[in-house]
Amino acid sequence: MLKETHQAEIDDILSRYPVKRSALLPLLYLAQRAQGYVTEPAMQEIAGILKLTPPQVYETATFYTMLNLKPVGKFHIQVCKSLMCALVGSDTLIAWIDTKLGIRPGATTADKLFTLSAVECLAACGTAPMMQINDDYYERLTEDKLDRILADLRQTGASSLKTGPFMWPEPSGAKS
């Protein structure tokens, strides 16, 4: 139960809004963080907290692509495939991932480590091709960088090749 494990955070979220229902997305995020995806019992509990019906919660939850109603791999790779990225190689990036991990968009590796999605613009069009893995952005990707990122994630669960705080181009004088 979220209430037992996250009471302080729930109270903090509720204190930000004059109307309770506004806390719905933040609470769904909280549930997703706690359990990896948004489970049905969590949605029922959230409905209780916000005095909503479970269908009201479900209706909102299903609208937003970032809320996973099913489990995803430990690392969710999202490659932007919108035009600006496609102009400079996002389809190639997707193909590399397919070669290296054997998954196409929508699929998860057998060991449940990686899920691949092709997504729409992530506001990194000037530093394409790019991908987001869980919370982190990886930009200006090359095949070599991709290899290092995947190796880092397998070994340590994190990669120092993640980007941000974002600025591009970097001011003259700074190295790229």
Binding site: Y29, F63, A123, C125, M167
Partner: protein, 434 residues
């Protein structure tokens, strides 16, 4: 090549600038807030913003001071400011930089706007994928609150203004202001039918202003340096100030450029962004994000201001300039954008929901060399029946790529269709296929 004084990217371009409160104060940050809150009357602040000529940077270019002026004067209940940080128009990546590199510039702008419109609470609606940006904002707000720039009784002025970060969860349409409000209320992000406008019936049905990140980030500079200063920059009187243009695609130096409105596309693309990435020539460019009709090399001397780009048959939109080189398949490019719109249509109204699906199917057929000449009419008909007939401006936006590529590169569609017809001659099973 001429150089310009940046406004919004100036701090972050200083060596060692990390965007902390101390860094920001060292560059003169929060002086505008000190000067304004509790000292200048809110209506005078609005008057300065009106005089500066500042227009919204989110896409529609509506004059900011005028928008603030629409809030009911005598209304006693709460009012709200929502900062639109949803940034999901393909080709646009400036708000992300403004947030991650100089969060206090935005927060100061938000507090000034709240003060001007009489809002005690504001929400920064930030797209869900900007996890880092949301964290940076939360930390910056905490710093500002601890110093007395945000929260109760700001700097002893008796004025209370709170700022909260609210994360979206992956839906382009939530950048549309009324969908944003629905989403912030915990509902599906479906645009509302307007009127009534947010100015009277916004968040929780209360008077509300929605402004873009870049719009708000300009306010501290306008309040410190004055309306006349701001109005003298750019392409006055109608397009004042600089814009952070996001250049992407086949250029040598893609990225964000903070330059006065009114410079030409040629200057932005060839001087600022370093020209083309190879010796292939420029074939096409999109001047203002995915919703803006494509332009051609003939338009390179058009000025980057609201009026000039509109006159050229497109729009300055979100300031996302995407450059395409010779060899780019324009039908393929239009399809990519159409797939975006199809994916992001919220489904509330049928011309957009059904039309986008149909458009994608026809475009795929043409690109896959299975099209026929009548498909071109179908495309035009569909587009005409979507634009102007929908609940929100998404409907006008989604037809832009197809309509404009059909206008300038119709021969590429025709070539693909001829290829299909030739193939059909040797592929009898495909004849009559739709």
């Amino acid at each position: 090549m001429p150089t310009y004084e940046p406004i919004l990217l100036k701090n972050m371009q200083q060596p060692g600038y990390g965007g902390s409160l101390a860094d920001y104060e060292r560059t003169g940050g929060y002086q505008a807030l000190r000067k304004v809150v509790g000292k200048v009357s809110p209506s005078d602040v609005t008057a300065v913003v009106m005089k500066s000529g500042l227009r919204g940077r989110g896409g529609a270019g509506f004059p900011t001071g005028v928008k603030w002026g629409f809030l009911p004067k005598d209304y006693q209940g709460p009012r709200y400011l929502c900062c639109n940080a949803d940034e999901s128009e393909p080709g646009t990546f400036k708000d992300r930089q403004l947030i991650e590199r100089d969060p206090h510039q935005l927060i100061e702008g938000i507090v000034i706007a709240c003060y001007a419109i009489g809002a005690a609470s504001s929400y920064i609606y930030i797209r869900g994928e900007f996890v880092l940006g949301a964290k940076i904002l939360e930390q910056a707000i905490a710093e500002a609150r601890a110093t007395g720039y945000v929260g109760k009784n700001i700097l002893g002025s008796n004025v209370t203004i709170d700022v909260w970060v609210h994360r979206g969860a992956g839906a382009y349409i939530c950048g549309e202001e009324t969908a944003l409000l629905e989403s912030l209320e915990g509902k599906r992000g479906l645009p509302r039918v307007k009127p009534p406008f947010p100015a009277t019936h916004g968040l929780y049905n209360k008077p509300t202003v929605v402004n873009n990140v870049e719009t708000l980030a300009n306010l501290p500079h306008i309040m410190t340096r004055g309306a006349e200063w701001f109005a003298s920059i750019g392409s006055p009187p109608k397009s004042t100030g600089t814009r952070v243009f996001c250049v992407s695609g086949h250029v040598a130096r893609p990225g964000n450029y903070d330059v006065p409105m009114g410079i030409t596309f040629r200057e932005l693309i060839y001087d600022q962004a370093g020209g083309m990435r190879s010796d292939k020539k420029l074939k096409a460019f999109i001047p203002g994000g995915a919703s803006a009709p494509f332009l051609t090399p003939d338009h390179l001397d058009v000025k980057l201001d609201f009026e000039s780009v509109a006159q050229a048959g497109s729009m300055l939109g979100s300031g996302g300039v995407t450059v395409m080189e010779e060899g780019t398949d324009m039908v393929w490019a239009a399809l990519r954008l159409m797939e975006f719109f199809y994916h992001e249509s919220c489904g509330k109204c049928s011309p957009c929901r059904e039309g986008s699906s149909w458009l994608v199917q026809v475009m795929r057929r043409i690109v896959n060399k299975r099209g026929q000449m009548s498909d071109l009419e179908t495309l035009t008909d569909l587009c005409k029946n979507i634009a102007g007939r929908t609940v929100c401006a998404f409907g006008d936006a989604e037809v832009a790529p197809i309509m404009s590529t059909l206008k300038h590169w119709r021969h590429e569609y025709v070539t693909l269709i001829h290829a299909a017809e030739t193939a059909n001659l040797i592929r009898p099973e495909a004849v009559g296929r739709h």
